[in-house]
């Protein structure tokens, strides 16, 4: 699959693993701090970094030999963004809410 690092991807797997554990600790720690309106953005940013690490390295999107796979991933995220983004702009701008 990954001719670029055919020797051993193990180092990378363990690095990602420890980064994910650190991210979990960090998100629990950040939740105990009063960051005003930034608690949710910080939590979601950490979650997104963790999810991206899993997708790129554990799910091999980074080394995917098929460009179509990357297109499907980006397309799916785009539609998710439409779903969440457009719905929330509606609810956030209703005068009565």
């Amino acid at each position: 699959m990954s001719e670029h690092s055919s020797s051993s991807p193990l180092k990378m797997y363990f690095a990602v693993f420890f980064a994910l554990l650190a991210g979990t600790g960090l998100t629990v720690f950040a939740a105990t701090l009063d960051l005003g309106p930034f608690n949710a953005p910080v939590a979601l940013t950490i979650a997104t970094v963790k999810a991206t690490l899993v997708a790129l390295f554990f799910m091999h999107v980074w080394h995917a030999s098929e460009k179509l796979t990357k297109l499907v991933v980006i397309g799916a995220l785009f539609f998710l963004l439409l779903l969440l983004g457009l719905t929330m702009t509606d609810y956030a701008t209703r005068p009565w809410s």
Binding site: T27, V28, A51, V54, A55, E66, F79, L83
Partner: protein
């Protein structure tokens, strides 16, 4: 054309038994399987996306009630489960690597440990659900969430009806996630039995790769569920 027949026969004899005849080579077959799985995962993203969208709308409307309800869930259990799933994602990539490099013992051990971690996750989830049942926090006739203070607003109490919406979303989202875990356990049991019979080789290990994609996706869903459900306004 005797020549091409000879080439065709030669090809038939040479190729790997797992290579289906409509694919040019194993790489193409692997890419096609992986692409198909990603298209399925795209539908899963939209499926969970709808739930996340409902969650966001109600969280915006009833933030204080959501914070009070979220605080009643055991954060330590949720954090432990996050770590358990991350460990299982590591054993899944180890299983894929072991299959690619023909390490039979590591492959079987990784698949077995993945299943054990999956069961651990569901066990911890069960403990958590039991707590919620005992506290009458399960939406329904016996639901009760009276006199629960809104974090950061002393003297203000959460509206039980709004808290019930939080718990409905909590049970539906974690419940559907748990259902995915149970299906994942079934997939990995099948992978383990096939690996036991020696079906996977460095040339052919697509089912492990594909099953792994599914497992990692379920892990990613949890990575978002944990902060959204367990960590609302914890500092207050």
């Amino acid at each position: 054309m005797p020549d091409s027949t000879a080439v065709g026969l030669h090809h038939e004899e040479q190729h790997h038994p797992e290579l289906l005849h409509h694919f040019a080579d194993p790489q193409q077959q692997r890419d096609a399987s992986s692409l198909g799985m990603w298209v399925f995962l795209a539908t899963e993203i939209m499926f969970f996306g709808g739930l996340f969208c409902a969650y966001l709308i109600y969280r915006r409307w009833y933030f204080g009630d959501f914070a009070a309800a979220s605080k009643s869930i055991d954060m330590a259990l949720g954090a432990t489960n996050t770590a358990v799933l991350i460990c299982s994602s590591l054993t899944v990539v180890l299983a894929v690597w072991a299959a690619q490099t023909a390490r039979r013992t590591l492959l079987l051990a990784s698949l077995a440990i993945t299943m054990l971690l999956g069961l651990t996750f569901l066990g911890i989830k069960g403990v958590e659900y039991k707590q919620k049942f005992d506290e009458h926090h399960v939406p329904g006739a016996s639901f009760s969430f009276d006199h629960e203070e809104i974090p950061g607003h002393p003297g203000q109490y959460a509206n039980p009806a709004h808290a019930q919406i939080f718990f409905s979303l909590y049970f539906v989202m974690t419940g559907l996630h748990a259902l995915h875990m149970i299906i994942g356990l079934g997939i990995f049991l099948w992978l383990f039995l096939a690996a036991w019979r020696g079906r996977f080789t460095p040339e052919y290990n697509t089912p492990i790769e594909i099953g792994g994609l599914y497992w990692h996706f379920v892990d990613i869903v949890w990575i978002y569920l944990f902060p959204l459900l367990y960590l609302i306004d914890r500092h207050a």
